[in-house]
């Protein structure tokens, strides 16, 4: 699994970082940044899906 954030859609709710702080963080403006740009460790996949399901802007895209 890989994950990316669409910067145009992200408005900095930080819902992703709340659901999965291992993979998502914030830039200086509070917008989302992906901390693991390569393959997501298997034990974090469920949390990444949860992060996607908590984003009000549908800004998180998962590639399986």
């Amino acid at each position: 699994m890989r994950v990316r954030v669409d910067d145009d859609s992200c408005h900095g709710h930080q819902s992703c970082a709340i659901a999965c702080p291992e993979v998502f963080g914030a830039d200086e403006y509070g917008n989302a940044v992906v901390l693991i740009t390569g393959d997501i460790p298997a034990d974090l996949e469920a949390k990444v899906r949860r992060a996607e399901g908590n984003c009000p802007e549908h800004a998180i895209h998962i590639d399986d």
Binding site: Q14, I18, D27, R50, N54
Partner: protein, 398 residues
């Protein structure tokens, strides 16, 4: 006579203020989920999640020229001596919105607000010290109401001993002033007089590591930002940073007072806190914002005209069963929660990370100190509503 809320809702009806969800549910499940009223300056009110979010995203059509839920039409509001001062970026539209927002976002990023956690914790403990021996307290007035105003005053670099005065002014804008324009204008003028003095002081005596000083020295495209911008940001931070979070803390404590199983879950499973905070924000979203229609348009079959007001009821959106399973239940570990308590789109609440921090710390400290508590009398709890919904008196015993 039974009124039809799809054409005559009243956001200040006492029963709506106490519990708006029966009426909102009735509108949402009617053939007319975008309601209209002629009351309080007239407004439209979508009640479905998808419609509220669509309006939030369409900021070119649904502008932020006015954001209060009542009042005269744009351009006709009496704004007194500070007509040029708004509340950027919440009152801004693109393209200015971009820099209006970008300058303040770094103050509110998660890593920036983290420095307020210990002070907030100490404040919460001091407040509880003041009433814990009594075995009873007003969790809204003695606790929730006291917290955000002091945090935001600290952030703004102004004295926290004026907190009661600030609270009175904010209520003048967001509570009593919504149904009385003279009250609103007086409160607004008091706020802007105060911050004009603060700005003048910072010009004479610039401070290190100070929000107002930093903003006054900010530049956009090589020019210092106008004073009206800094003045407006101060206005926004006070008005938007006090009632809202206080309401959220108060409603969450009201909920926890009635749900021993949730108090127990949070005690026994502290890993629930992050999702629990989001769920309490969803279920008790305090804020309704307004938009002004830019040009004649049709939305979900409704003919909306330029200058008309649209209420974005985030509480209504957050209870839509099309978006949330069992929406009226608080489910502390809710898996998928795309709630819009902080809005959506370009106007997502700039203070959301600070609000979350305050809500979490306030609830954690309360539950550490007062693990078991209940309402003295559910019927005696009073609520404010309209723009910001939350308990104003909430007696609990422990």
């Amino acid at each position: 006579m039974t009124i039809d809320p799809t054409v005559d809702y009243d956001i200040f009806d006492p029963s709506f203020i106490r519990d708006p969800f029966p009426v909102i549910d009735q509108i949402r499940e009617s053939g007319c989920p975008v309601a209209h009223t002629d009351r309080w300056g007239a407004s439209w009110m979508p009640t479905r999640y998808a419609d509220v979010v669509a309006i939030a995203q369409e900021h070119d059509v649904f502008t932020s020229r006015q954001i209060l839920v009542t009042g005269p039409p744009p351009g006709q509001e009496p704004e007194g001596p500070y007509a040029a001062v708004a509340a950027p970026p919440i009152s801004s539209d693109p393209p200015e919105h971009h820099w209006h927002r970008r300058l303040i976002l770094p103050f509110f990023a998660p890593q920036a607000v983290a420095k307020f956690e210990q002070g907030t914790r100490d404040l919460c403990n001091r407040l509880i010290d003041g009433f814990i021996e009594r075995g009873t307290a007003d969790s809204a007035a003695d606790y929730a109401q006291q917290i955000p105003v002091r945090v935001i005053a600290t952030m703004l670099g102004v004295p926290t001993d004026l907190s009661d005065t600030f609270t009175g002014w904010v209520r003048g804008v967001l509570e009593t002033g919504l149904t009385d324009q003279a009250v609103r204008l007086k409160a607004r003028t008091n706020i802007l007089d105060y911050f004009k003095t603060q700005i003048d002081d910072r010009r004479r005596n610039p401070r290190e590591d100070d929000l107002i000083t930093t903003l006054l020295n900010s530049e956009v495209d090589g020019e210092k930002v106008p004073e009206e911008y800094v003045h407006g940001v101060c206005n926004l931070m006070l008005v938007a940073g006090v009632d809202t979070t206080w309401s959220s803390i108060g409603a969450s404590l009201w909920h926890l007072a009635q749900h021993p199983e949730h108090r127990r879950e949070l005690r026994e499973q502290p890993e629930l806190w992050p999702s629990a905070i989001e769920e309490l924000l969803r279920a008790y979203a305090p804020v309704t914002m307004a938009r002004i229609v830019a040009h004649d348009t049709e939305f979900q079959g409704c003919p909306m005209h330029a200058g008309e007001r649209v209420l974005m009821s985030f509480p209504a959106a957050n209870r839509d069963p099309r978006q949330f399973e069992r929406p009226d239940e608080v489910i502390l570990d809710r898996e998928h929660n795309r709630h819009v308590a902080f809005g959506a789109g370009i106007h997502r609440c700039a203070g959301s990370n600070l609000a979350r921090l305050e809500l979490r710390v306030a609830l954690q400290v309360w539950l550490e100190r007062i693990p078991e508590f209940e309402l003295v009398d559910p019927a005696s709890v009073t609520w404010a509503g309209g723009q910001v919904r939350g308990p104003r008196q909430c007696l609990v015993k422990f």
